[in-house]
Symmetry: C2
Subunit: 186 residues, 2 copies
Amino acid sequence: MEKIKTTKEDLIIKSLEIFGLQGYHNTSFKDLAAACNIPSSLFYYYFKDGKEELMTEVLKYVVHSSVKKLKELAQNPEILVKDKLAKISRFMERLYLENPAGCIMGNTTLETALLEPRFLPTLKEFFKDWIEAYTIIYQTQYQPDKALELAEATVQDIEGGIMLMKLFQDKKYLRNALRRSEKWLD
Amino acid sequence: MEKIKTTKEDLIIKSLEIFGLQGYHNTSFKDLAAACNIPSSLFYYYFKDGKEELMTEVLKYVVHSSVKKLKELAQNPEILVKDKLAKISRFMERLYLENPAGCIMGNTTLETALLEPRFLPTLKEFFKDWIEAYTIIYQTQYQPDKALELAEATVQDIEGGIMLMKLFQDKKYLRNALRRSEKWLD
DNA sequence: GTCTATACGGCGATAGAC
DNA sequence: GTCTATCGCCGTATAGAC
């Protein structure tokens, strides 16, 4: 019988949700503590530098739980190229389509890129890896330069789609972007 | 000799700049007051409901000073269709290419769409008008449905491009999006 | 219209008991 | 590891003199 205890990862996962919904600056330890059912001071035991350190770990968690898997999928030689794009689209739909927060990495980029240098490396890694995953796939039918441009355009289209989806509460913007991303291969 | 006095529009324009750089929640009246060289309490004379009302007027100002002009341009019968797209691209470059804040409407959408219902109508109007402007132009060579989809894709591509430009400090993302927007016509 | 002064709450952060 | 208590600061907002 496992002892039920607070783990760092639990705090990160719950904080991820709250930061996604409310944004970084607008979220207080009181909000996070309420969601985690702990006193807010306990966060300083796990994250001694406070909110900035917590958010850094939240962003790193997102990188490792999403975009790293995307890259593995893109590099997997046992999957047909056409199927890879379909799988990535379904992965995106699972991540974003039912998530009112949208993409926390996009949110945090626009909110903090000019203000919090500590988040930049992780945010850059996220988008770099994401673009790389698409580039790998597009390279099977395009020259490297063209594949990179298509990958960048796809990521931009998707992030813009998540923005419009959040604003208009209409899933078509993300769905259409994913459809367009698949259209480049056949 | 005009008397130098504080006008509501001066406050709005200066606040627009600060909100763009720092975000809505992270900007205090102290920040705004310092930038405007007035005591922060004076904002309550011009905007009795405080920060929320000020931001609402900032967003309305952006709609009227940018996207409304874009629509006029798109509808102007005296300009060649191909030139319209080039003019819009140059308009976008002027607005965003040298602006570290990026697009305040995109920033504010991601930061507040779930939290501040008062901003939603103006944010929606901005993106609706922007998409409409492109739709009008694309309709000269495409069916209405296809023109709308191209317009939505263009706006998504540009907003995603502004995001990546802000993150990587590289103008290519926006430039490429604008180039792609022009590629659909000839 | 513009200012000074201030109330009041909430924030991040720390100390220290258990 | 987890808790209670608390500190000092900064946020929005208001009162009222000029």
